[in-house]
Assembly symmetry: C2
Homo-oligomer: 342 residues x 2
DNA sequence: TTGAAAGCGATACCAG
DNA sequence: CTGGTATCGCTTTCAA
């Protein structure tokens, strides 16, 4: 930058003005500087810029206060990555709110102080009230991304998570190709308030009826992500449909399903496809209780949310392909070695 | 750091010495400084440190000069990410060497100047000569990682790629569950010199014979990653085994396989599992010519190689879970939206 | 063994 | 409109 100033015959301050497109420079001068920049092949050093600017990234994750393994994995990731990011002028905080409670989410968002928080990641239910609160938060100058379950694209800055309709279709394709012969299928869902759950269900149903007419989705139970509830509901389903050949566990609460299946002996004729790789589901896959797991990488989600929040704050561009969360398919054979959900 | 110096009653220089464990400080002084650090909850700013240190990361990728889609995707990633990394004091360069040519690799490595290159990523054949050259490069002070195909762990600093035995097993599991009934299987391999190809083949064969005795791996052709060669070899295989029910394409050269399959009309009874998501294989998956693709994310590979090379140069720690390259399984349904192999 | 001071590459405030 | 200069947090000579 010093070189540019010298070559262009102007001061450092002016070079800075041109570089950052700040106002108050004659176009003649801008030209001179730009020429020097081109000549010298100048490359800006972002670290130095951030240092001089004293930029801090204070990020907050608002997540449901549930104890299911997936949410706990997310929290663990936030804590783990937060520790490392301290060295990079960014802090990650977590705020837990009651699950499936739009009001709590709204209150949390409204309480945010934009002078103390630069960006927020929300993971929660989608209601008009929540949408408005998000809008207010953005109006106050904070960056907002939605995690795992989307909000309308006009409300948030970015969405970090998988295409849940596609995830449902993927589950259906696996189910259809793994099951032998005809039969009936059970779907376990979570909550009607969660957009991700609804989308998975929809994708599954559509592909199932399009491509596998020999399989019938006969029943579905709403487990509210509660292992115990799921476990209690299952016996009557099995009683009603003794010829069940497949189960799609589309939400959380897998431990309840696993316990039921393992207690009622091996089910060699049953194909089970579930969501989210956790210690429990991993073990179920290893033992053969589950046949496949559809996953979204929690480590990737948190890293991506952090990068997107920073980029939004800086009004900087980002790499679309890097931020795309994949729909991972895990079989027993391609399970990553233990030591992490990442 | 200024605060620490003040609280500890020493100079900035001394604080730096303690922080970086540099020699020449009395243990009494070290104690004083450490106490101040603890009191103040000091967090080091790595960006500022690198700035002051004028640290540059000059990284080189030595890759085979082939035109297959996977290698081209890797090169494209290197170029794309290299452009962004310029702002972060790191440069990525590519050096192409003749494929499957240990000698060329050795010469390239030996020609490296450690004062101009800080780290090297190699992707190539594994021979004693190559191993020695890698060893020499490390002795000269450069960091070395192997990409895609591994070298013995004692030679390189890190390996960036998938567990190819597990990838072969994964392919076998998919094949076994997708194929209906009995039949014969064809495996297409690449080169005997490439460790990754051998490992995939081995994993596939083992799981196939263990879990799917009804399926027989009857033939295999060595395609040398050459689409045209593969296309020419296929007719006689199909003539010899008209009842082929599955093909595992374990290396590169998919376009040849795809062309053959599409020219010889639809093969509804044939299950095809291939490696690497590329424009050609993606199209084949979409059209139903392929049933599944096993992939290793090229974007992730290059990012990971870069991070590991930097960490090695800095003797800094890294996040194992983030650097683990996943064995991706793609079906038509979970294909990432076009616009990248990432 | 310790300290003082000059940067690294950029930003920002205050003058002119 | 444009220039000078202090500063960000840390490293690195050079002296003492």
């Amino acid at each position: 930058m010093n070189d540019i100033a010298r070559v262009a015959g102007v001061s450092l301050a002016t070079v800075d003005r041109v570089l950052n497109a700040r106002p108050g420079v004659r176009s003649v001068t801008i030209e001179k500087v730009n020429k020097a920049i081109a000549e010298l092949g100048y490359i800006r050093d972002t670290a130095a810029a951030n240092l001089a600017r004293k930029r801090l990234y204070r990020l907050l994750f608002i997540i449901p206060e549930t104890t299911n393994e997936f949410m706990m994995a997310l929290e663990a990731e936030i804590a783990a990555q937060g520790a490392k990011l301290l060295h990079q002028r960014t802090t990650l905080q977590t705020l837990a709110v009651p699950p499936f409670d739009p009001r709590a989410m709204v209150d949390a968002l409204d309480a945010l102080d934009p002078s103390k928080t630069d960006g927020v990641a929300v993971i929660g239910v989608e209601t008009p009230a929540v949408r408005d609160a998000v809008k207010r938060a953005r109006a106050k100058g904070m960056a907002v991304v939605s995690l795992v379950s989307d909000l309308p694209s006009s409300e948030r800055d970015h969405f970090v998570g998988i295409d849940n309709i596609a995830a449902g279709r993927t589950a259906a394709q696996l189910m259809g190709r793994f099951v032998r012969g005809e039969g009936r299928i059970l779907v376990i869902t979570g909550s009607r308030l969660a957009r991700d759950h609804l989308e998975r269900r929809k994708g599954f149903d559509v592909l199932m009826s399009e491509e596998f007419p020999n399989l019938n989705v006969v029943a579905s139970i709403e487990g509210r992500d509660d292992p115990e509830l799921i476990r209690q509901l299952l016996p009557e389903v099995f009683a009603a449909y003794p010829d069940l050949c497949g189960i799609y566990s589309s939400a959380a609460g897998n431990p309840g399903l696993i316990r039921f299946l393992e207690e009622t002996g091996p089910h060699p004729e049953l194909t089970v496809v579930a969501h989210e790789l956790t210690p429990a589901s991993r073990a179920a896959l290893q033992s053969g209780t589950f046949d496949a797991i559809i996953n979204q990488d929690t480590g990737h989600i948190i890293r991506s949310a952090t990068r997107l929040l920073k980029a939004t704050v800086d009004k900087a561009p980002f790499d679309r392909t890097q931020e795309r969360i994949r729909i991972d398919i895990y079989l027993k054979e391609n399970l990553p070695h233990q030591g992490g959900e990442a």
